[in-house]
């Protein structure tokens, strides 16, 4: 009995920790619609700051709590800095670009923290006065666990009071409901957004500082915590603080008791819960419909046009250059080109889903990695020749995409994105755990091309044929009736509905299509590398694709190709330098601010006229 009570309370304290990270994130999203991926980085900075402050503050027992509060405040100030200097400039650009900005922030904060705080793992200090345990029917429970439970409840109460009993809270709630109306009423939104971002960052820093006695500070914290925080926010319903608390509770308790029944469940429990909740309640426990939408902004983008004659000529020239490359390029340039082509195809398929399809995916790696694994498994278990593997693997992934898509298209906006993430994570954990079949994280090795294609130049042409072919097909599809219908679905669900088009079915088919092509890219990838590991399905891989698409720009069809070329080449160029993450992150941030339409969008803006059929101002 004592054990069960203690296990319950432990779960509750884990839940409290989760809630402390997630509540700030939920608050920020609710008001400003920023999906702040850098939230985990703020959490990490909070932990480091508190660790050092506790050592330096000469306040005796009080210094612990004072340090936690101060580091929360400092992180809040950093938040203000980020909001005013960076995010404010981006509110007018498409919302997705905020994502890229926050990705850049993660990289920058990561390297700055290493430089400032050192690379050593730090064990957090114990909390003075609460460093013992209490005996519950013969089982010990750390006192600090109880403290965390109470603190989380107090913070929940404080936020509730702030939102419901102050003028500021009324404004925040109004902004969550209807931003335009609030602006029309003359409320200074700019200040409101900044203050909310301050509060959210403060809570992140506080959360990081408060978990010190339960763990410590290390440089992997930021990414380790962010996925969990998003799950909590989404399960609770974005913007709902009470929802976040209940979601954290659900996850904390199910994990605490889950390990009793099935110790291996640790990898997947959280994402399983999210998938189930989203399938039953598409907007989370307490979310309101539509509040999580990415509205496609018609004002900023002209509809995509088929390529003009001149552009086609330019494309042909580029194609020739690519095909002639083996004549003058070194071996390694070919390797790079192969990688660029493969990732460009995969990014193109993601672009097809995000641009014309209007559906954001945070889990695109499941299709790419799925293709890689399907091909590798066919070769490994059935000795399938490469040609057949390249044929069947994309089909299998298309099938997988049909299954995942069937669940996902019932949702929209961020919820859809998070459900794709959940499925990606579930598939990843299956591959990771089922080592007898998939090799687990030791991967599958020796998946090399057939003899005729093992020559590098032959393989180069094979890759180019498949990848460029795939990209051109996807491009072509945008201008078929299917493509136009899809764009109509994206732009006005209502009108599409009224003329009798089945929106969901179109979106569903888009899933299968993009899955197929990403799977094709993945299956070529595995033959180019010779081995495959679960990493190809993991969250960072999905984010890579997202970054490539955003880097190129969401409005131009050439965006994904340019984006992936720039991404891989940049990466290769600077990864020889120490602190390259800092440089890469800064470049991302700079690009978002300087080219809010992405590289391709910028080129189109700048040189578009040269390539257009009729000279004159563009619409």
């Amino acid at each position: 009995m004592g054990f069960l009570i203690v296990q319950f309370l432990t779960g509750l304290s884990d839940a409290s920790g989760l809630f402390l990270v997630a509540c700030g994130l939920s608050l920020i999203f609710g008001v400003s619609r920023i999906v702040n991926f850098a939230h985990g980085s703020f959490y990490m900075v909070g932990a480091y700051l508190a660790y050092y402050l506790i050592g330096y503050l000469p306040l005796g027992g009080l210094s612990f709590w004072a340090s936690i509060l101060i580091s929360g405040l400092i992180v809040g100030l950093i938040g203000i800095l980020v909001e005013v200097l960076l995010l404010k400039r981006l509110y007018r650009s498409p919302e997705l670009f905020l994502l890229m900005g926050t990705f850049g922030l993660i990289l920058v904060i990561q390297d700055l923290s290493r430089w400032l705080f050192g690379s050593e793992d730090l064990l957090g200090p114990r909390c003075p006065g609460l460093d013992g345990s209490i005996d519950i029917l013969g089982t010990l429970l750390p006192q600090y666990d109880l403290a965390l439970i109470i603190i989380a409840l107090l913070i929940l109460l404080a936020i509730w009071l702030l939102l419901n009993r102050t003028r500021w809270g009324i404004l925040v709630r109004a902004a969550t409901e209807d931003r335009e109306m609030l602006a029309a009423l003359g409320v200074n939104q700019s200040l409101l957004f900044t203050s909310v971002f301050f509060l959210g960052s403060f809570l992140a820093g506080l959360g990081g500082a408060l978990q010190l006695p339960k763990g410590g500070a290390d440089l992997l914290m930021d990414l380790n915590v962010i996925a969990g925080a998003f799950v909590v926010v989404v399960v609770g319903g974005m913007g709902s603080i009470l929802g976040a608390y209940l979601a954290a509770l659900l996850i904390g308790e199910l994990s605490a008791f889950g390990v009793l029944v099935l110790p291996q469940s640790t990898l997947v429990m959280m994402f399983l819960i999210m998938a189930v909740v989203l399938i039953i309640r598409p907007y989370g426990l307490f979310g309101k419909g539509k509040s999580g939408e990415y509205e496609y902004d018609e004002k900023t983008s002209a509809p995509i046009q088929p390529a003009s004659e001149r552009l086609k000529l330019a494309g042909l020239g580029l194609l020739l250059l690519v095909l002639l490359m083996p004549l003058f390029a070194g071996d390694f340039q070919l390797v790079l080109m192969i990688e660029i082509a493969i990732l460009a195809l995969s990014s193109m398929s993601l672009y097809f889903m995000m641009g014309p399809g209007g559906m954001i995916s945070f889990g695109h790696a499941v299709f790419f990695g799925g293709g890689a694994y399907a091909a590798a498994l066919l070769v490994h278990h059935l000795n399938t020749p490469m040609e057949l593997a390249l044929f069947f693997a994309p089909l299998l992934v298309g099938l997988l995409a049909l299954i995942i898509g069937w669940f996902c298209v019932r949702l929209s906006g961020v919820y859809l994105a998070m459900l794709t993430l959940a499925f990606a994570q579930i598939c990843w954990s299956i591959v990771f755990q089922w080592s007898a079949f998939t090799g687990g994280d030791d991967g599958l090795l020796s998946i090399w091309p057939s003899d005729w294609a093992s020559n590098r130049i032959v393989f180069y042409y094979l890759t180019m044929t498949l990848c460029i072919g795939g990209i051109l097909i996807l491009r072509h599809l945008v201008f078929t009736p299917f493509g136009y219908t899809l764009r109509a679905c994206r732009d006005s669900a209502l009108r599409v509905d009224s003329i009798g088009i089945n929106l969901k079915r179109h979106q569903w088919f888009t899933f299968a299509l993009t899955g197929f092509f990403a799977g094709l890219a993945g299956s070529i990838y595995v033959f180019s590398k010779g081995s495959v590991f679960p990493d190809e399905m993991a969250i960072p891989r999905s984010f890579d694709f997202l970054l490539m698409v955003l880097l190129g720009g969401i409005e131009a069809l050439s965006g994904p190709v340019i984006g992936s070329a720039a991404f891989i080449w940049l990466h290769d160029l600077i990864s020889r330098i120490h602190f390259w993450q800092l440089i890469l992150g800064s470049i991302f941030i700079f690009l978002v601010v300087a080219f809010p339409r992405g590289i391709a969008g910028f080129l189109d803006n700048r040189f578009g006229r040269i390539f257009s059929n009729h000279i004159g101002p563009r619409a």
């Binding site: 339960k214 410590g216 380790n224 605490a256 640790t266 390029a329 030791d442 991967g443 590398k529 160029l573």
Partner: protein, 402 residues
């Protein structure tokens, strides 16, 4: 802003230029070695490792290099991703024209490079990855491994653990290949020595995402007399703290893999556990002339104390030098032949690369943890030579599938 944009475009174009030129090769007055490791992520493990090989490189080159040529190491970051590692390996081999590859920390990255080495007939000397598969199930002619593997270290611990009367065992290990291998080997060897032992509970926390409280509580609920721990890094710190607060370690014998290595023991400071049976590296206590010399040189150069990774880095660089002396050639086949059976004296003892499976016999220190001046240390330790903890030839042949 317009000016800035033009500037950016200009620089972008310039940066793209080298892309279109074939690689130009330098005059061959140095021997180039490719080195790959996770320098952007696990810096607390990989930086001491880098110090190690840099120290060795300096010693080798000030002594005049090898066969009249100086060694040059081109070191790259793999970001902890196997795909990235393979790409860098291609670049090092094709563009930089290195004669061999060495390094890597993660097992899966090591395995990806193992396969690359086999396919491209390039010599690869794995430094830190522990996976058993690297030299056995997936082993090949071109891959060698320096550090004692998961199996070897588990075997060393199991032998010692068998001396303890505990019969009810529980295990906790990170939920990935390293953790699973470490538990499997330990169970097998302990069971063979002590048929009366039973394993009553197991926990598999996700790597670096341990829910220490609930998972430890579940272990304790099965009333084990001994616990075998494989978690490390941040997970280990949480495991230790929660375990202490919840009184789990009282009267329980704990065996813990790698915990005695300064990388993992130092961060625990005055909470370092006492009386745990661990593998590690007690650099403060090793009093042999070879190690004294290494220690002095290391502290002199870096103003820091060495970690286990430092020794690994030092030894892997020395391996290359000794191998080149023996082979007298940078031809891959000749270098592989020289690697097979290569023996040299390392700061911690003799190392031989076995011909049968390309595993080195570098050993590990096994002992008990204790507290000294607010820091964790190892006491009553002994150096266990790796050659005594490898399976017999017959079994190795079966494992390598030949």
């Amino acid at each position: 802003m317009r000016f800035v944009r033009r500037l950016v475009v200009f620089f972008t174009l310039i940066l793209f230029l080298p892309f279109f030129y074939p690689a130009f090769s330098d005059a061959a007055d140095t021997i180039k070695i490719g080195e790959i490791n996770t320098y952007s992520k696990l810096t607390n493990f990989t930086f001491p490792y880098r110090n190690g090989w840099q120290l060795a490189l300096e010693e080798i080159n000030t002594a005049g290099g090898v066969n009249g040529k100086k060694l040059e190491v081109i070191s790259r970051d793999d970001d902890g991703k196997p795909g990235q590692a393979v790409k860098i390996a291609e670049e090092l081999v094709r563009k930089d024209k290195v004669i061999l590859l060495m390094g890597s920390f993660f097992s899966h990255v090591g395995l990806a490079l193992t396969d690359f080495a086999k396919r491209n007939k390039v010599l690869y000397i794995a430094a830190e990855p522990l996976s058993d598969a690297l030299v056995w199930a997936k082993g090949n002619r071109y891959t060698f491994r320096l550090r004692p593997s998961t199996y070897m270290q588990a075997a060393m611990l199991a032998e010692k653990a068998a001396e303890n009367p505990a019969r009810r065992w529980a295990t906790i290990a990170p939920n990935y290949a390293y953790g699973k291998d470490a538990v499997k080997s330990f169970k097998k060897i302990l069971k063979a020595k002590r048929p009366d032992v039973e394993f009553v509970a197991e926990q598999w926390p996700a790597l670096f995402k341990i829910n220490a409280g609930s998972e430890i509580q579940s272990l304790a609920n099965s009333k084990p007399e001994a616990i075998y721990n494989v978690t490390f890094g941040g997970d280990l710190a949480k495991f230790v703290r929660e375990g202490n607060l919840r009184g789990i370690f009282k009267d329980v014998f704990v065996v813990s893999l790698l915990t005695g290595e300064p990388e993992y023991l130092d961060p625990l400071k005055k909470e370092a556990p006492e009386g745990w049976l661990v593998t590690g590296y007690p650099w403060y206590d090793i009093k042999t002339p070879a190690h004294d010399k290494f220690l002095a040189a290391y502290q002199n150069k870096f103003d820091a104390t060495p970690r286990n990774g430092s020794v690994v880095g030092y030894n892997v660089m020395m391996t290359v030098a000794h191998m080149l002396k023996k082979s007298g050639s940078t031809d891959t086949e000749k270098m592989v032949d020289a690697m097979e059976g290569l023996a040299f004296e390392s700061p911690i003892g003799p190392v031989t690369y076995r011909k049968i499976d390309h595993q080195s016999t570098m050993g590990a220190y096994v002992g008990y943890t204790a507290q000294k001046e607010g820091k964790g240390i190892m006491v009553e330790w002994q150096y266990m030579d790796g050659k005594d903890y490898l399976p017999g030839d017959e079994e190795v042949r079966k494992l390598r599938g030949k």
